[in-house]
Subunit: 224 residues, 2 copies
Amino acid sequence: MAIGIKVSPNKAFYLKDPQETTLGKKIIKESILLIDEIGFEDFNFKKLAVQMESTEASVYRYFENKHMLLIYLVSWYWEWVSYLMEVNTMNIKDSKEKLKLIIRTLVYASKDNAAIEFVNESVLHRLFIAEGTKAYHRKTVDQENKEGFFLNYKELVQKIADVILEIKPKFPYPHALATELFEMANNHIYFAQHLPRLTDVEVVGEDYSEVDEMIEYFAFKLLA
Amino acid sequence: MAIGIKVSPNKAFYLKDPQETTLGKKIIKESILLIDEIGFEDFNFKKLAVQMESTEASVYRYFENKHMLLIYLVSWYWEWVSYLMEVNTMNIKDSKEKLKLIIRTLVYASKDNAAIEFVNESVLHRLFIAEGTKAYHRKTVDQENKEGFFLNYKELVQKIADVILEIKPKFPYPHALATELFEMANNHIYFAQHLPRLTDVEVVGEDYSEVDEMIEYFAFKLLA
DNA sequence: TCATTAATGATAGTATTGCTATTATACAGG
DNA sequence: CCTGTATAATAGCAATACTATCATTAATGA
């Protein structure tokens, strides 16, 4: 996300646009750090206010509750990855090469970058891996879906699916494969770090190359 | 799970074995129904007590908190699927046929069956699809993993991985593929029902056949 | 049959969470 | 300098997440 570019999550996510004010940006910045640190279950607006040296009431002026804040952050992540994908595949002609670069983007989403200064994308990536699915695994999913809460995810998947179809126009499951590539990237980074017997790859520090290799293997085997 | 067979989740999950008493069984039975109905976020022991016509304090004698109850239920599900897999592939010689039956089991886990009378496996399946990942996407995952909370999942994955290796001994990612088959089954049933643009399959009522077909396609393409 | 114990129910109470309301202060634009 | 807007400070309330105590019942067994 080049400097000056603004990520634009759905207006329905917030009561007041956090990107418009200093306090709002601080909420985004600090909530990412705090959720990453203590986990979404233990996170609340009181703790966030303390960490920000602001007040609970002020945070509530921006977001209805912590679920809406998570939706906002997760949506930001989807948009951010979409953007990275675009940038990284720009001017690439070969579809297979494009898919490789897409996979690399999904795995290494956090790659440092001239990004929005108040968002630590690397931490956001980790947050998404750990908490992302909680955004849509709720009883409210259908209503929220109607209101467009997950559009960014769908657009991301559509973009990947388009490339899949460029490679193999008759592939019967382009969206499902796109979704799986994205989910696999996140899942197997998490499994490698926390439940290693559920995977075959290792992650050492920031080195996700084995995950990248594996997903490439899966993708191209399926599209062979 | 033939009548008389007892599922045996880790003792560390509970304060007092719920399978040993009438009230305990009622907690299992009613909590599955209530979580399925209102979602895990809104679920609490007070509401469960009301639904059971018991008291909050009584529920707390069995489970430390709702997270531990979820771990118990999820673990039950993993064990139940493991058991079904065994039964369904018993006496099957051909490894490919075995994998097909395993996939069918993962997708149709809820298939009615001479099961434990106080657990509605069909509802448990739905609950797992919606809430399952919340059991291990928590800050406590490493500690809980050490205490063996996820052994049932690992054993399930190992069983599938063994069959994968029977089919293709040199397949480089047997555990990851096993995990993905399981995760895909759950994800795409959920996506088909709630976020259809993330997948290519349709689920109509209880008919998961398109999911089954798709996962078979993925698995055998990868093992070709 | 009585005494003992274990399980549950009934009730109460405390600390924290989730959220709303009110007023005061600061400070930015006209 | 005035006026509106954003934030801070504070309070408060209802719900949640437990814990403790005691009474009641059921089951066990001497």
